[in-house]
Assembly symmetry: C2
C-alpha cells in the first residue's frame, strides 16, 4: 500500500475540513481568537492581506469618484428604528452601550455608571447614521451623485463565531451613494457588483458567480441585493461581497431630499456595498492545501522569502550580503503594477524548519541562498503552487528577469485551479428527486435549478434537512437568470 | 481710517479664536458634529489629510520593522482593572457595553436585552487587550523586540467635546513594543518621540518641542511619558503626540514574560506611542488664517485645483481639454517623493466663487485656465500662502518645471512662519512675579521657567487662576532640561 505523503496540516482537508481551516489559520499565523467572545486578533501576516485588499480596492473606487470619509461608531437606538426591516434585521445581534463610565462597586471592583438617556448600538452597518449626514449634504441635483466610502470596524453579535468568516467584530469597507433617479442607483449597484467580481477574480484569484439574492436573503431594507458567491474546496458557498440597491427606503427613513432640475423637492435613491475581512477566510478555503495557506501573490504582504542557508560560519557574511542584494533588486521589480516585497528570514533556525514555516504561511516564492548559489551565481527557489519537492535552479539574471512572470503564473494557476474545481462541483439539475439526491452527499457543491422549483415547497425541506439555501439568481451578460443557485454556505 | 480688509472667515482670529476655529472647519468642509454627542463626522477633505498622515507615517514605522495588526474593539472590564493607575485614568470616561441585543419594550420601541455577564468598555487605548496577546506571543528572547502597530478608532467619553481636538471617538495609531531590557524600551520610546517630532515638522510643517511630561501628566501606568508640544496661533499648546516608556508595569499586569539568554524567565519591558486625528486640529490652528484653512502640501488630499474660466461657451471645449491635459501632466510630477494630485473644479459656478471655496479649504495652489491662458500657452495661478490678490503668470512649461519647487516652498513657508511665531511667543522667565504677570495676558504663549519654581507652590495658583499647566521638561540634544515649559493648552 502506498504511504500517504506527510503533510504540514493535521487533519487534512478530506478528513475534517472545518478543523483543517482552523489549523491552517494557526499554522500560517493569520489570526487568533481573543478572550472577547467572537472578536478576533488579526495577526500581521493576516492583516497584511487586508492592507493589500484595502490599498488596491481603494484605488479602484477613487478612480470612480468615490471619496473616503468617517462616521461615528455609535448609532442612537432611535436611528436604527427608522427603517422597520432594517431594525428587525440587526436588533437581535448588536452590542449596546448603556453607560459612559465605570465607578467603584464598593466591593473592590467597578460597575457601569452614568446611564445614558438613550442607548447606542455599535454600528452593525452605517446606513442610518450616514443617512443623517447625507440629509444635510444633499440639497440640489447638483450635489448628486454623492459617492462616499468608509473603511471601518463593525459589530454584529455572533452566536457561532468563526475566525474571519463570522466574527462579532470585523473590518470592512462600506460604500454609500446617493442618486437622483432609480435608474442611476440601479446602475451604481450593478457596476459595483461587477467591480467586486473583477476584484475577487483578478486580485484574490477567486472565481465568483454574480447574481441577485432572493427576497428572503436581501439586506434588511434593500430593494435589490446583489452578491458575488464563491465556492470553497468543500463545495460550500461563501458570500464574498454584496451591493444593495436601496431604492428610496433609506432616503425616506433619513429624509434625503433634493430639488430636481424642475425645482421640485423629491426623495433621492441610495445604494450601499461592502466587502470585509471575511474575504481572507475565502482565500484560505479556496486556495489552501494540506500544507497550509497559499496567498495569491497580488495580496501577499510579501511575495518572496529569502532564506540564507549557512552550513559553514565562514560563508555567513557572503551569503547574507547576497541575500540582501537580492532583496534590494527584487523590490525594484513590479508585476501587474504591484511592487514586489521580499523578506529575509535570518532567524536562528535550520533551513528546513524555516522553509516549512513559510510553506504553511503560503508565501508565493521561497528562495534559498547558500554557498553553492553564490559560487554558481544562481538562485534556488520553490513555488508554493507546486509540490514542496519541486525545485528550480536558475542563473540569477534569469531569475530576476522572470520573477514577475513567475508570480503572475502562480496567481493565474490559483485562479484556474479554483475555476476547474468549481466546474466539477457545479451541477445543473431540473428535478426534485435529483436535487434531494445531490445534496444527500456532504460533498455536494452548487446546484443550478429552475427558480420555480425552489418556491414550490422545496425551500423548507432543503433548509431544515440539508442546510441548503438559495445563493443567487445568476446575472449573465447583464440579464437575470430564471434559474437559482443553491448550496450549503458559510 | 483704513478699511479693514474683507476676510472669508467671521470672526477673524484676533476677535474670537475659538469661534474662528469652528468656522474654519465649517468653511473648509473638514468635519462636522454628529447627533452622537462628542462624535464627529470627518468629511472627505478632512479625511484626506488623515489618509496622508496614515500613509506616510505607516511607511516610516514599517521601515523600522513595525508590523500592523488588529485587536478587539471591546475590552473586558477585568482587563482594565489589571493596572491600578491605568483603570483610574480611564474609568471615568469610557463607553460601557452591557447588552448584546435590543428587544421589543412593549411600547412600540426597543430596549437593551441579553445582559452580558461581564461588561465591556470600548477601547480608550489598547495596552491591556494587546498585552493579553503579547503574553502568548512572547516566549523567548528570540521573539524580542516585538513591534506592533494598530490603526484604529478609540473612545473616551468627553464632557466638553471639540472637533478634532477632543472628541469622544477619534482615529489614531497606537504602537506597542516589547523589549528584553529597560534600556531597549527606553531607547524605543525616545526614538519614537524623535520620529514624531520629525514627522510633525517635515510633513505637517508643525514645529514642536520634544520633552518629558511631569509625573502628574503621565499616561496612566507609564514610567515615563514623552511628548511633542506644538504652539497654536493663540499661544496655547497642543500635545501632538506621545510616547510612553511603560517599564514593567504592563508586562507585570498582563504577564508578558520570556526566557532570557541565561534561561531565566523574566518580565519584559514595554512601550506604547500614538498620534491621532487631533493633529488635524493642530494643522488648522497652526497654519489657518482669516480666509480659512491652509493645508500643508505634503498632507493635502490634492495640491492643485484647476478652475476652468469659461466666459464664452464657444471656448468651453478647448478650455476643458487644456485643464484635463494639465491635470494629467501634473499627476506625473512628484515633490519630495509625493505624487501631485490635482482636481478640476468644473462645477456650474462663477470662477470667483469657486476660487474662494478653495481658498477656504486651503488647497496649496489654485490654477485658472481661460481663453487667454490657452492663447498665451501660459498658466495663471495663486498660492495659498500668499495674499488672494497676489497672482502669478508663467509659461506652461515653466510652471510644470517649477510646480514641485512651488509646493516645497509653500510647505517651507508654513514651517518658517510657525517657527517665527513660536519664537515671538516663547519667553524665558526666572521669577514668580514675572510668571504671574506674563500669564495675566490672555495672549500669553509658552513660558520657560526653572522646574523648581513650579513645584514650590506655583502649580495650584497657575492651574486654577490661569488654566496654565506644565507641558514638558524639554529634551535638548538627548538631555533632559532642568527647566519646564508651561502654557495654556488644548
Amino acid at each position: 500500500m502506498a504511504k500517504k505523503p506527510k503533510t504540514a496540516i493535521t487533519p487534512v482537508r478530506s478528513d475534517n475540513y472545518p478543523e483543517w481551516y482552523q489549523q491552517v489559520i494557526k499554522a500560517a499565523d493569520l489570526a487568533e481568537n481573543s478572550s472577547v467572545r467572537g472578536c478576533m486578533v488579526i495577526k500581521p501576516w493576516g492583516y497584511g492581506i487586508w492592507e493589500n485588499i484595502r490599498t488596491h480596492f481603494d484605488a479602484i473606487i477613487k478612480k470612480r469618484g468615490v471619496q473616503n470619509a468617517y462616521f461615528p461608531l455609535l448609532i442612537p437606538k432611535s436611528y436604527l428604528e427608522k427603517e422597520a426591516e432594517h431594525v428587525d434585521g440587526f436588533a437581535k445581534e448588536c452590542a449596546v452601550v448603556t453607560h459612559h463610565r465605570l465607578e467603584d462597586d464598593g466591593a473592590g471592583g467597578l460597575k457601569p455608571a452614568g446611564e445614558l438617556a438613550e442607548p447606542f448600538v455599535i454600528r452593525p452597518t452605517s446606513e442610518t447614521i450616514i443617512g443623517e449626514s447625507f440629509s444635510n449634504w444633499v440639497q440640489s441635483y447638483r450635489d448628486l451623485p454623492l459617492k462616499i466610502n468608509q473603511w471601518a470596524n463593525v459589530m454584529r453579535w455572533e452566536m457561532r463565531p468563526r475566525l474571519f468568516l463570522r466574527t462579532s467584530e470585523f473590518l470592512w469597507q462600506e460604500g454609500h451613494t446617493v442618486h437622483a433617479t432609480a435608474e442611476c442607483a440601479a446602475t451604481e449597484a450593478s457596476e459595483m457588483l461587477e467591480i467586486y467580481a473583477n476584484f475577487a477574480e483578478n486580485m484574490l484569484a477567486l472565481p465568483v458567480i454574480m447574481g441577485e439574492k432572493t427576497p428572503d436573503e436581501r439586506f434588511p431594507g434593500a430593494k435589490h441585493t446583489y452578491t458575488i458567491e464563491a465556492m470553497m474546496q468543500d463545495g460550500k458557498a461563501l458570500q464574498a461581497g454584496t451591493s444593495h440597491d436601496l431604492g428610496q427606503n433609506f432616503a425616506i427613513a433619513s429624509d434625503i431630499k433634493f430639488s430636481n432640475q424642475d425645482g421640485h423637492v423629491v426623495h433621492a435613491h441610495t445604494t450601499s456595498w461592502g466587502i470585509s475581512t471575511r474575504l481572507i477566510g475565502g482565500i484560505i478555503m479556496a486556495h489552501g492545501d494540506d500544507d497550509g495557506m497559499i496567498v495569491p501573490p497580488k495580496v501577499a504582504a510579501q511575495q518572496v522569502v529569502i532564506i540564507p542557508a549557512v552550513h559553514d560560519e565562514a560563508d555567513r557574511e557572503a551569503i547574507m550580503e547576497k541575500c540582501l542584494g537580492l532583496k534590494l533588486v527584487l523590490e525594484t521589480i513590479s508585476f501587474d503594477n504591484i511592487m514586489i516585497s521580499a523578506v529575509i528570514d535570518d532567524r536562528d533556525e535550520v533551513t528546513s524548519t524555516k522553509s516549512w514555516n513559510w510553506i504553511k504561511k503560503g508565501i508565493p516564492v521561497r528562495v534559498e541562498i547558500g554557498k553553492r548559489e553564490i559560487e554558481g551565481n544562481q538562485v534556488f527557489f520553490k513555488r508554493r503552487d507546486e509540490s514542496p519537492r519541486e525545485k528550480h535552479i536558475m542563473p540569477e539574471d534569469e531569475f530576476l528577469g522572470s520573477i514577475a512572470d513567475i508570480l503572475l503564473s502562480i496567481q493565474n494557476n490559483l485562479l484556474e485551479r479554483a475555476k476547474s474545481y468549481r466546474a466539477q462541483k457545479m451541477k445543473k439539475i431540473d428535478s426534485l428527486d435529483e436535487i434531494f439526491n445531490y445534496f444527500k452527499s456532504e460533498d455536494a457543491g452548487f446546484a443550478n435549478i429552475p427558480h420555480s422549483l425552489w418556491d414550490e415547497g422545496l425551500s423548507e425541506k432543503m433548509k431544515t434537512d440539508f442546510s441548503v439555501s438559495p445563493r443567487c439568481l445568476p446575472i449573465i451578460d447583464g440579464e437575470l437568470s430564471d434559474r437559482l443557485i443553491i448550496a450549503r454556505s458559510y
